[in-house]
């Protein structure tokens, strides 16, 4: 699954500028996480049409990039996320970052994460009966 990342300066209004554009273009966010450091932030989000959206953002002068990430549906119950992380941990896969959310559709929780070797992680998950998904269901 492709995720859009946008560089944000650490100042009031920088997040708003991106979100206002998405609103203007009528683009619905499927998932979103904001990483921050003392100096700057990186906004990461999933939308339905990532390539076109990233291109439009770049044209507007934002520093945006597409990153391949993995997403999987997990059971919305205690230990649901832990099961996913557990199989990756057991295989020695390190997670760069991760965000999760509960979807109102289908009663599932979804986890989006980034690892160095995506293919290997995908195989491991599938071997353990956790299929990765290419879109977040609407």
């Amino acid at each position: 699954m492709k995720q859009i990342s946008v560089f944000l300066e650490n100042r009031p209004g920088s997040l708003y500028a991106v979100l206002a554009k998405l609103r203007e273009w009528n683009i619905n966010l499927r998932a979103l996480a904001l990483a921050d450091t003392a100096e700057f932030g990186v906004l990461r989000f999933i939308v339905e049409n990532p390539e076109a959206t990233a291109e439009k953002l770049k044209q507007e002068g934002f520093t945006a990039t597409l990153t391949e990430v993995l997403a999987a549906g997990v059971e919305d119950r205690p230990g649901g996320l832990c099961a996913v992380v557990e199989v990756l941990t057991n295989e020695g896969i390190s997670i760069e970052y991760l965000y999760a959310f509960v979807s109102p559709y289908g009663g599932k929780a979804y986890v989006v994460f980034r690892v160095e070797d995506l293919e290997k992680a995908r195989e491991i998950l599938e071997k353990h009966g956790i299929p990765t998904i290419e879109t977040i269901p609407v």
């Binding site: 990186v42 945006a64 990039t65 760069e96």
Partner: protein
């Protein structure tokens, strides 16, 4: 000394130094030959005006030893201005130069009111920078007691100030203010201290800053002036009148010129300060353009000295910045930024004063090519630029990554430097 007697000494010395420069400094000989000037035809001090200037660039091109007019076995010390290979200027001192420098620095300290009874804490940097060793030798020559602290370690500096009965503090004015601030935070009681005198230089400062220092430390504060290309500290100093700085004219012949035309300006007019060294053997300079903006006043000072006074330096002709006593050219920062992959060639240097200490921040734009989704990659980029700047400038800079196009593009000359430090007033 009456001015006529002084001028006689100056002329004698000038003739000698010109002959030496002609024979021993190829770069200056070339300038004289090109201008068709015979140094033996300089017969008055006014004749100096016909001679070509020496610029910082001349000295840089002479790197490393092309500006040294003596065989190396006669050179006992080498100093270098801040800057890195390629942009540094190198100066050499003979044993006699060191002797004269010590004398002049002792004269400077005495002019500011220090005596052999004083215990002097030297908190200028020791090393290639002329500040520390220059003041040190002068203080010893004065037969004062010297405590060679060099820079940094503020708490220890404060402890030594109190425990060693320091009466005179020598450092940059911004460090003095910083030290006062740290002392206040640590509830230091100055009432038992012997501190009475502050002798400050190596960066421009204002009357407001003087008042601030004197409010926070139990001292009377004096300004001193010098630059390594001319000798180091000891070129000029404030007397008790604190109305301009007396130039040690028996060793340094000053002029003030229009920086555009190079024409010598009359007394009292503001322009670029130019020095000719009259006695220096190691690295004599003829009509060296300092880039410092000042004016000269020849009337006898109320203190009785006939030596010319220069107005305290508050600005420069070029874009050189003085940050914590270190000379920085924006072009140095630019070359570092351009050497880093993935950074746009747009940058801004932001100077602030925090806790009385100058801070330098460099704002750069992240290019879309290098932007990474991973925070650690961006942090590495930031750190990489910071380390390169530190190596180039010998100064810690904070790098701030900005979104593209966030630095204003201007037509023509971009505004590269934003100086938010309190504006330094003129005398």
């Amino acid at each position: 000394m009456p001015r006529e007697a002084l001028e006689k000494i100056q002329l004698n010395r000038l003739k000698k130094v010109l002959v030496r420069a002609y024979h021993n400094l190829p770069y200056y000989r070339k300038k004289l030959d090109e201008a068709g000037i015979n140094v033996y035809e300089v017969n008055t001090l006014e004749d100096l005006r016909k001679l070509p200037f020496t610029t910082k660039d001349d000295l840089r091109k002479a790197y490393p030893f092309g500006a040294i007019a003596e065989p190396m076995h006669n050179i006992v010390r080498i100093h270098s201005s801040s800057g890195t290979t390629g942009v540094a200027t190198v100066v050499g001192y003979t044993a006699r130069d060191i002797e004269i420098w010590s004398e002049l620095m002792a004269r400077t300290l005495a002019g500011c009111g220090a005596t052999e009874e004083d215990v002097i804490q030297v908190a200028f940097g020791y090393g290639l920078f002329t500040g520390g060793l220059g003041v040190h030798y002068g203080a010893e020559k004065l037969k004062a007691t010297v405590v060679p602290m060099s820079v940094g370690n503020t708490l220890r500096q404060i402890q030594i100030l109190r425990d060693f009965g320091i009466s005179v503090l020598c450092c940059t004015p911004s460090f003095a203010l910083y030290l006062a601030e740290v002392a206040r935070e640590n509830n230091v009681d100055w009432s038992k201290s012997r501190l009475r005198l502050g002798i400050f230089g190596a960066e421009p400062w204002s009357e407001e800053m003087r008042a601030e220092i004197e409010k926070k430390l139990p001292i009377k504060a004096f300004d001193i002036y010098g630059l390594s290309e001319v000798i180091g500290p000891g070129v000029a100093f404030e007397c008790e009148e604190r109305n301009g700085l007396h130039i040690s004219e028996d060793h340094f012949l000053p002029e003030v010129i229009d920086p555009q035309t190079g024409k010598v300006l009359p007394e009292g007019e503001v322009g670029e300060l130019v020095f000719t060294t009259l006695t220096k053997e190691g690295t004599p300079v003829i009509r060296y353009r300092t880039g410092d903006i000042s004016a000269l006043y020849y009337e006898t000072c109320r203190c009785g000295r006939t030596m010319v006074r220069m107005r305290r330096v508050a600005s420069r002709t070029d874009d050189m910045l003085i940050i914590r006593g270190v000379n920085v050219y924006p072009s140095q920062i630019e070359s570092v930024i351009l050497s880093v992959d993935g950074v746009e060639p747009y940058y801004q240097i932001v100077l602030t004063r925090e806790n009385y200490l100058d801070k330098i921040a460099v704002h750069v734009e992240v290019s879309p090519q290098v932007f990474s989704d991973e925070v650690k990659v961006l942090e590495k980029l930031k750190k990489q630029i910071e380390e390169k700047l530190k190596a180039e400038l010998n100064l810690s800079c904070e790098v701030k990554l900005l979104e593209p196009k966030s630095i204003t593009r201007s037509e023509g000359k971009a505004k590269r430097v934003i100086d938010l430090r309190k504006k330094e007033g003129v005398q």
